[in-house]
Symmetry: C2
Subunit: 361 residues, 2 copies
């Protein structure tokens, strides 16, 4: 068989040129006579891989010099705990804005280490809209405000960075990092699990304003302190070297594709094409999200009759369109349109959806 169109929410599709390069050099990398994953992280060859990945990421995102970039383990979920441990004093308040499942998880884990104030929540609307900024109840002197720029399950995305004054803005960008340009200087801390737009699972990026890392924080082991990781260039202990290398290849691919401006244009076209197909289906397909905050990355949709779900999944799979099953929290289908998902893939999906509707009308 050949490679399918992969709409998985994560771990997700990777750019094929990246996989081909990794395949070609899997046993003998860079004249070292060994796989890159068999090399010491303390040796010059791997340190160059690591440094180049960071340089390319800084260039792609325009990360200012006063921000540290960390390549960590543990997933975004571990950051849910480390953020309050590192940025707040015990008993201090942090604001959380809830726009879906992942924001809720962040707040729940945060509550073990900080006093959580729910500044706003879209739960009453089943997370189909973002509460307007003017309704947010912010805490004066909060340690930080946490929000989720893109909700992978609910398909809700902020298309602008909210203004929260001087409070450090903390953003879980797991599912939309690198999908468009973003002004990093607006943020106190950005974090993202790799397995959507960066690389394979098992790597987590943290981009943090250095002055925040100097906060006293709460008692904790060295390995749980961002400042220690920053001081050691993310080599406080053995990093996930192969994932780091692959992320570096993805960054090179993004640069070759024209950078984040080009990705944004492509991602917008992909999303608009799919939403147009849904909205133009006469109710055969539905997406419940407020059009002002529909995600470019994750498009949940339902069929007019859920009895057709199984047929839709079977037939799409047979047509080489994989990973379309929706998350159980919202049901139906979900197409994730990360950077590595091509416009051709979206065209094929839209064609299939039209064809399915005609056949099962």
């Amino acid at each position: 068989m050949s490679r399918v169109y992969n709409f998985s929410a994560g771990p997700a599709a990777l750019p094929e040129p990246v996989l081909r390069q990794a395949q070609a050099e899997l046993l003998e990398w860079g004249g070292q006579g060994a796989s890159v994953m068999e090399l010491s992280h303390r040796g010059k060859p791997f340190i160059e891989v690591a440094a180049r990945a960071e340089r390319d990421l800084r260039e792609l995102m325009g990360i200012p010099e006063d921000y540290a970039v960390l390549f960590l383990q543990g997933g975004a979920t571990q950051q849910f705990a480390l953020i309050p441990m590192n940025l707040a004093e015990s008993g201090q308040t942090a604001d959380y804005v809830l726009t879906g499942h992942w924001a809720q998880k962040a707040a729940a884990e945060g509550a073990h280490h900080v006093k959580v104030n729910i500044a706003a929540s879209g739960e009453a609307d089943d997370f189909t809209a973002i509460p307007p900024r003017e309704s947010w109840r912010l805490t004066p002197g909060a340690a930080y405000l946490h929000y989720t720029p893109n909700e992978t399950i609910h398909g809700v995305e902020f298309h602008h960075v909210p203004d929260v004054g001087d409070v450090p803005l903390v953003a879980d960008m797991s599912s939309n990092i690198l999908s468009r340009p973003v002004d990093v200087s607006r943020f106190g801390l950005i974090y993202a699990g790799a397995q959507k737009n960066i690389g394979p699972a098992g790597l987590t990026l943290v981009i943090a304003r250095r002055d925040l890392l100097a906060r006293a924080g709460q008692p904790r082991a060295k390995i749980l302190r961002y400042a220690e990781h920053a001081a050691q260039d993310s080599m406080l202990n053995t990093p996930p070297t192969f994932a780091w290398y692959l992320a570096g290849l993805v960054f090179q691919w993004l640069k070759a594709e024209g950078g984040l401006g080009a990705m944004a244009a492509r991602n917008r076209r992909k999303a608009e094409r799919l939403y147009a197909a849904i909205d133009g289906s006469g109710g055969y397909y539905r997406n419940p999200v407020d059009p002002a905050c529909r995600s470019w990355m994750n498009v949940p949709f339902t069929l007019h009759d859920s009895a057709l779900d199984a047929a839709f999944l079977d037939e799409s799979q047979a047509a080489g369109l994989h990973g379309l099953k929706g998350h159980k929290a919202v049901g139906g289908m979900r197409a994730s349109l990360y950077n590595a998902v091509s416009e051709e893939a979206v065209a094929a999906l839209v064609d299939f959806m039209g064809d399915f509707a005609r056949r099962h009308g």
Copy 2:
């Protein structure tokens, strides 16, 4: 060029058949039309990969049913913190036996979460010997006793499991797991970073008696609790799927090679051959470790004149023998002889060492 003999301490050599299989199926795995690293961890195909890896590991090590096996992120260093957080009440005492650098690190990180009693230390002897069991000062009712069965830097290995009565024995097996059979039922908890004998960096195994996971422990986020990971089959959040898959291939390779008994015989032959070359060099090469506790996995050695170190490293590299530079804490050279390092590699190293001594006598 072709593949070299790789004596790196970690990340370290992987079995070539494992890398060849991973290479062959890197873009299209298991009839899925996608790389295994592009698949959802919640989908049936990956869950089967994960379950098979656990089954094979249980078979290889003879892990009893009342032990949980966790595939985690964070490295052994993160476990230095999680072990006291999970197995001890705040303020409780845990015993630590210091036999080298890694045991010291474990005790230092442990001290953030538990009262550390140094039950024994080989520091006065520069960690060249293991303090005799009868000299250990154990704490009655200790939460656990932590020790390091193999010290990667100092090259000191326990060849027997110490008897500590009813206190749960916690072992950092990062550098000797799977190198020989071990009676898992003697342990409360075994942990190991993957990057020596298991797979690529970014995966950590924890094998723990289930009753210990029910301990109340200290306040902490869900993601830091072993019991939560166990309840979710290590899928509390997205696991490092590609590393887990590769570890599974290593386990299959170990079974095909005859299991841990066969590995032990091979590892013993490799180590004996190298130590014999060192001891038989008339003082040209030296290993300072008490012969009763010399490591089979990591063999540090010095040259009689450290002015020759640079030439030894240059010439060994040119001869296709890589990764021999010793750790800065002990200087000189180090040859790591993990499972994936062949007897042929050790023979080549021994030949080179003899030749070097003749040429630079």
